[in-house]
């Protein structure tokens, strides 16, 4: 197992390098086609050419390769790589170190993701089990219908609608009726620094909703399949109660693909966090990317995406390790 993990970690290097180069190349091509982003920064009030040139140099955007369309600017890429390996991720246009921006934003996103993962796994698995045990019953049909609906609603639509519904109608009603502050914070339109968990509750639910539908469906299918397995019949022949047959013998097996999915989903949640944080004005990593995209701050985008890709890769490694823990038939070497 140790050697397997090591080998996987080594395989991360080409993936990370590939991602970073792709991002770098997109950036250079964009500058080569659209011109110096510093010019765009000042809009209508352009500074004198000397100042512009000085700022451009300060941000390392004075490389002549940026004038030659199609040139991959390998020199710039190597400079950035050597900076990254020394922990220097550069600065944004306000001269803030990018590492600090990320350090400020990450805890918020981690909290949001925890809420989303807890919500989607607990409710999703519960719904899937309820549907799976009584296949084609009322609960099953209801859960199948509602999960299909949930899966079909794009995150941003759900976010916008929930924001209005919870923030405006429920939130206002709660405040008018003297609900405790944390409760009305949970149903406010935006993030509130004083209530770091409560005010992320509703955004977390929105973020986890899509995967909740998926997890419920996956649990249901998997449980139905497992309940047909021979070893479930054996468990019944042993005189075990139905609760134990389903809860121990069937569920343990049917949750293996579900756990795998939840692990993979961590990556998808980062994409979703982008949207959710944008809509609810949450100062997380998604909000950081969102803001950088709007301002055209490519160094921030590249640094954050590189970091998120690493998180994504680590999550997928965790899933594979977990897989071997859950299913003794799987052995890595």
């Amino acid at each position: 197992m140790g050697r397997y993990v090591l080998r996987r970690l080594l395989q991360f290097i080409p993936v990370l390098l590939g991602t970073m180069f792709l991002l770098h190349y997109l950036q250079t091509v964009s500058i080569q086609i659209n011109g110096n982003p510093i010019t765009a920064l000042f809009g209508d009030r352009q500074p004198p050419p000397q100042t512009l040139a000085a700022i451009t140099t300060a941000f390392g955007l004075d490389d002549p390769c940026l004038q030659q369309t199609g040139n991959p600017c390998l020199g710039m890429f190597l400079d950035r790589m050597s900076g990254y390996t020394q922990g220097d991720f550069g600065v944004d246009f306000n001269r803030q170190p990018i590492t600090r921006l990320i350090a400020d934003a990450a805890p918020v996103t981690v909290r949001l993701t925890i809420i989303a993962v807890l919500f989607e796994s607990l409710v999703g698995i519960l719904a899937g089990v309820v549907a799976g045990i009584r296949k084609n019953g009322f609960a099953d049909n209801f859960i199948r219908l509602s999960t299909t609906l949930v899966i079909s609603v794009p995150v941003f639509v759900l976010g916008v609608l929930v924001q209005i519904g919870s923030g405006l109608y429920v939130g206002v009603w709660l405040r008018d009726n003297g609900a405790p502050e944390w409760l009305s914070a949970a149903f406010s339109v935006t993030y509130q620094t004083d209530h770091p968990w409560a005010s992320l509750l509703v955004p977390g639910v929105v973020l986890g909703a899509f995967s909740l539908g998926f997890i419920a469906r996956l649990t249901r299918t998997s449980l139905i399949e497992t309940l047909r397995a021979d070893y479930v019949r054996t468990a019944r022949a042993k005189g075990l109660s139905r609760r134990r047959v389903v809860g121990i013998h069937a569920l343990r097996n049917s949750l293996i693909p579900v756990v795998t999915y939840i692990g993979i989903d961590l990556g998808a949640l980062m994409g979703g966090a982008l949207v959710t944080e944008g809509i609810f004005n949450i100062p997380g990593v998604g909000g950081l990317v969102f803001g950088s995209v709007a301002a055209g701050e490519t160094p921030v985008i590249i640094a954050v995406v590189t970091m998120l890709t690493l998180v994504f890769l680590l999550a997928s490694l965790l899933v594979d390790v977990l897989y071997a823990v859950l299913d003794p038939r799987i052995r890595y070497e």
Binding site: T19, V29, V293
Partner: protein, 298 residues
């Protein structure tokens, strides 16, 4: 139990037929699938022939700022947008970019994914190793984040760049599924038999491998259609997809967001409903197809 099932159906000779014929029979008898298909056809017709549905033309008609944010009336049955344009016309015309992108991207990813999957699965060896590693790299990119960043860095946002970025990010799952499916089919006896009879690689691929391994890809592609409609709207909503003056559901929702809070819910309800119903129809279709093609899940 299975031996009983075999015994119970033994003697039913009239119920034979290929997987596809059986699946098709199952599908057109399924009312849910029929309704979903009709919805998909209607939305497709909004995209291709918007003038059949609205007389205001493909640009959304004339917009009068004095008519801004009017509620539904006999003149504007869905009300008007923030700019005072007819909401109904925007809902109809907003289908076009979503549908074009969804169809384009699905076709392209399916072609690329199937081709690469067949090459990797059928030929194996170093080709498979290289292709699988490349697939891994692209699978490692988070979809929405990748699309947003690529589009933002490209700086050029229209139907073509959005499509291109979606294709780049979504071929790997199809390649991987196709590869697995091909490897499974390749090992079956009739493929061995065909090879023993001297069939060429090309004829084995097109006559035996493809027809028998493409079912899971078709199902995924149908689900993809719904996913891309949603992806286009999301990227546009985030400001890195289509730009004004294009008409798109994502733009309409983004513009309606602020004013809906201020008490004009129709600015959100109609474009959101159109989007949800479209995605739902595609997903229901895909689900029904999966059930029909894979009887185990029932």
């Amino acid at each position: 139990m299975s031996e009983l099932a075999t015994a119970a159906t033994a003697g039913h000779t009239e119920r034979s037929g290929s997987l596809w014929a059986d699946a098709w029979r199952e599908l057109y008898r399924n009312p849910v699938f029929v309704v979903a298909s009709v919805v998909v056809l209607i939305v497709m017709s909004w995209a291709v022939f918007p003038t059949l549905w609205t007389s205001t033309g493909t640009d959304g008609g004339t917009c009068e700022l004095v008519d801004s944010r009017l509620g539904p009336s006999s003149e504007h049955i869905f009300g008007t947008t923030f700019q005072g344009c007819d909401m109904y016309s925007h809902v109809i015309n907003g289908a076009r970019p979503s549908i074009i992108i969804a169809v384009l991207v699905t076709l392209a990813t399916t072609l690329i994914g199937v081709a690469l999957g067949v090459i990797a699965g059928f030929y194996g060896g170093w080709l498979d190793t290289v292709l699988s590693r490349i697939t891994d790299v692209f699978l490692g990119l988070p979809f929405l984040l990748g699309a947003l960043v690529f589009l933002a860095l490209l700086g050029e946002q229209n139907i073509w760049t959005v499509s291109a970025v979606l294709v780049v990010l979504s071929w790997p799952p199809i390649t991987r599924i196709m590869r697995g499916s091909v490897i499974q089919v390749k090992a079956l006896d009739y493929v061995e038999a065909a090879r023993a009879l001297g069939a060429s690689n090309m004829s084995i691929i097109f006559r035996h491998i493809l027809p028998n391994s493409i079912a899971p890809v078709i199902v995924l592609a149908t689900l993809y259609l719904g996913g891309f409609v949603s992806a286009e709207a999301t990227l546009t909503f985030l400001g890195v997809g289509l730009q004004i003056p294009e008409i798109s559901w994502g733009i309409t929702v983004a513009q309606g967001q602020d004013y809906a809070i201020a008490g004009y819910p129709h600015l959100l309800i109609f474009p959101c409903a159109a989007l949800i119903i479209t995605v739902l129809a595609f997903i229901v279709m895909g689900d029904a197809m999966r059930d029909a093609l894979d009887p185990r899940g029932r």
